[in-house]
Amino acid sequence: MSLTYPVATRTLDNGLRVVVSEDHLVPRVSLNMWVEVGSRHESPGRTGLAHLFEHLMFEGSAQVAEGEHFRALQGHGGHANATTSFDRTTYLSSMPTGALELALWLESDRHTDLLPAVTQSNLDNQRDVVLEEKRERYDNHPYGDAFQRMCRLVFPDGHPYRHTPIGDMTDLRAATLQDVHRFYLDHYGPSTTVLTMVGDVHPDEAFELAERYFGDAADRTVPRMPATDPLPPAGGVNETVVDDVPSERVYACFRLPAVTDRDFLVATVALDVLAGLAVSSLHQRLVRREESVSGCGAGAMGLVDGTSLGYLVADVEDGHSGAEVDAAVCEELQVLARRGPGDQQVRAALAQTERSYLEALAGTDERAELLSRAASTHGDACYVNAHHDLVRGVTAEDVARVAGRWLTPESRTVLSYRAGPGASDAGRGR
């Protein structure tokens, strides 16, 4: 089955890309504003601003009082949220069809005229909230800082992906109102934004509304920074964290190609073949046969600017060691590159990827996000349908080739956590 989600697109004169996909199952519309600004656009000493901004965008704008953004939408059956990543910040909302125009008005006001509402007191309050968000999501969980550590291990000094979107709290504390205003003017504008509407709306009407609410928005953004050269596969210096963790855990981290490179997709399949499935090599060997790990998994973060990140993870059983598990990981990496994956493994990895993708598209909120991503990252919203065919086209030979280039023992960096007294850095620990 090929996917046939309807996709209509238009670019307004000021550069705003508009994407519309009809779906009349329920009388609602999902709205996604994808802004091409994330942590990689932050300057040294001013990290965390993109994410702080995501918070400030809910604190009112020229015509919308503090708290009114949520309140106005919710009273009509809408909800709103936002997320910040390395490459982009997205604002998502969903509402009954009759409130779509209200939602566009709210988005237009904050995306084009926010600054009158960004005051020192809002800034101070939301900075406190972000500090608590960091403690809740990263500091107060065993292994909670793993992702930050992986980025520091895999990306060199000065690389835009070396720091994560939550940012450095010292930088956040130092951010002035002026820094924050400048950040908005530099990065938020029609030419850096994709507006996607999915649901109970006809494209003609959606385009007309987009023109009405965004057509006269001026673009003041600064030119996008030049692309960073792709990093070659290479292992870095391994790190061991001694912390109050419930079990020893080993991550093998890898650089991967940019998300726009087909080989990134192939690499995600290879990672699944290695550790993401019940039929994966490491699961069969370490979980089922050798019983040296209680569970294993794989993950990848597709990124735009030259280089992505991938990892394998395993929880080591008592009586076994991280070094033993790491040695087995290296052997399986070599086996995959040399002999290629088993047919059953490729079949399973592709079938699971396909179902996960269809599940992601099932709800209109996430479908809108994927359409925005397709338009922004792949330059074509229709990539949402094409991606499905690309997945099905991945072969065992592709997997072996990509594993041989990107997923080798030499190109891995190991991050391990071992149980021990005390936290390894200030502010961490339970």
Binding site: P27, R71, G75, E132, P246, R288, A348, G427
Partner: protein, 453 residues
């Protein structure tokens, strides 16, 4: 750019939960089908209403180990073959147990639906629970338990059930068992539990998704696969836990975590079940206006006003009979006592303090977001199962939304006053006892007991 006036909003049309087509198979098994055009992934659920009180006391957790090993080998296929067939068909298969029973969940692209049903039937009817696989899952559960204890949020929830429920009630102990009881579970225990409890008496199957283009009606396909699953009517014995509250539950339990980066709070007191005379919708509205958004009563003060938290949630957890009102979230470690005091003050309002505006706002949100909550096959299937295990039908969703649409302040006020008039809060705090124990004793939540982290 020019500033435009705020546009008018047209109200949404009336809404009803998607239609459920019921079929009773010759075996007596009920199949409930919901056709959702455009939903390419079909969600299948098998709900088996067993009770956790049926687990032997020294083998608690056997039901969950059984649920997790259903697909680890059958009479016809070993564990590895099953994994190949399940993953190769693009199926996600999972199973869990709770107060109301066992639920097996399956997600599959529509094209593999018939194949998925065959595999599902094999797991339900013919599992053999090989010893090595059961032993492995027992070990994996023990690891999970260690991780749950290490995580502050899960630790708070665990401490809460032990503090709130009466020690003689099954609900006072984790649904998935404790380290000592899980560690004792053997393949023989698992087989015995499966044989005694996993049968179709009063079980039902839910299929939700786009059923277009399938090689037959979904209920017929289910019959073909699961028709051989047999039961003796009336086999199930009642005996669910009543969820009795401990007589000394109105107090503070402080789980000591020296140097914690944040303090985790978990409060609970008696709440309603879905059959409450106030109408379940009144409590959905209360949950939203208390802890459903940054502008809700709690976060308006603790997050937006004081910056103490990233967010504190409130909700009502219905059991088959009775339930809980729960408030939970993490707060700044160095403002723990201040945050608890602020929370105490926020929660001390009476029904009379509610305003027409806030009730109307919350009611509009709850009623008008309903179509969006049930717009995917998994959300629809989950709701049919949740209600079905409570002995309710999906018209409850539609009638609750109708109730909320016209709900007035006095109904919500009466609902809240009933919670307030009931037994006091149990407050679990996971944080640094040296820093907070003394201060917490002054916040009005009762005496403080410190336990080791």
């Amino acid at each position: 750019m020019s500033r435009r006036p705020c546009p008018a909003v047209t109200p949404p049309p009336a809404w009803a939960f998607p239609e459920v087509a019921d079929h009773v198979l010759p075996s007596g098994l009920r199949v409930r089908c919901v056709d959702l055009p455009g939903q390419h992934v079909v969600s299948v659920r098998v709900a088996v209403p067993l009770t956790l009180t049926a687990e032997p006391r020294d083998r608690e957790g056997v039901a969950l180990v059984m649920a997790r090993t259903l697909d680890e080998g059958t009479r016809a296929h070993d564990a590895e073959q099953m994994a190949q067939r399940i993953e190769g068909a693009g199926i996600a298969l999972g199973a869990g147990v709770g107060e109301r029973g066992l639920v097996v969940e399956l997600e599959v692209p529509g094209s593999s639906f018939p194949e998925a049903l065959g595999l599902l039937a094999e797991c339900l009817v013919d599992p053999v629970f090989p010893e090595p696989e059961v032993a492995r899952h027992v070990r994996s559960r023990l690891t999970d338990i260690a991780h749950e204890r290490a995580d502050a949020g899960s630790r708070a929830a665990l401490e809460f059930i032990g503090s709130y429920y009466d020690a003689t009630d099954r609900a006072a102990r984790p649904a998935g068992g404790s380290a000592d009881t899980v560690g004792a579970v053997s393949a023989t225990d698992v087989r015995a539990f499966h044989a005694a409890h996993v049968h179709p008496d009063r079980a039902f199957v839910v299929v939700a998704g786009d059923v277009n283009g399938m090689p037959g009606a979904p209920a017929d396909l289910v019959d073909r696969a699961l028709g051989r699953w047999s039961a003796t009517q009336g086999q199930r014995r009642p005996g669910a836990s009543s969820g009795a509250r401990a007589p000394d539950a109105g107090r503070v339990v402080l789980v000591d975590r020296p140097g914690a980066a944040q303090t985790e709070l978990y409060l609970g007191r008696p709440g309603p079940d879905r059959r409450t005379p106030h109408g379940w919708g009144a409590f959905q509205v209360l949950a939203f206006l208390l802890g459903g958004s940054p502008q809700a009563r709690i976060d308006a003060v603790l997050r937006e006003g004081l910056g103490y938290t990233y967010g504190i949630r409130a909700g009502f957890r219905p059991r088959r009979s009775g339930g809980l009102c729960v408030v939970s979230g993490a707060v700044r470690a160095d403002a723990t006592v201040e945050a608890v005091a602020a929370l105490q003050e926020v929660l001390s309002f009476t029904g009379d303090d509610l305003t027409d505006d806030e009730v109307r706002h919350a009611a509009d949100f709850v009623a008008k977001t309903a179509p969006g909550r049930y717009a995917t096959s998994d959300a629809v299937a989950d709701q049919v199962v949740r209600l079905g295990l409570d002995g309710l039908d999906v018209d409850t969703v539609t009638s609750t939304v109708e109730q909320v649409r016209t709900l007035d302040r006095s109904r919500v006020a009466a609902a809240w006053d009933e919670v307030r008039a009931g037994p006091a809060w149990t407050l679990v705090v996971v944080g640094d006892a040296t820093l907070h124990a003394e201060g917490l004793a002054t916040t009005g939540f009762g005496e403080v007991t410190v336990v080791r982290g």
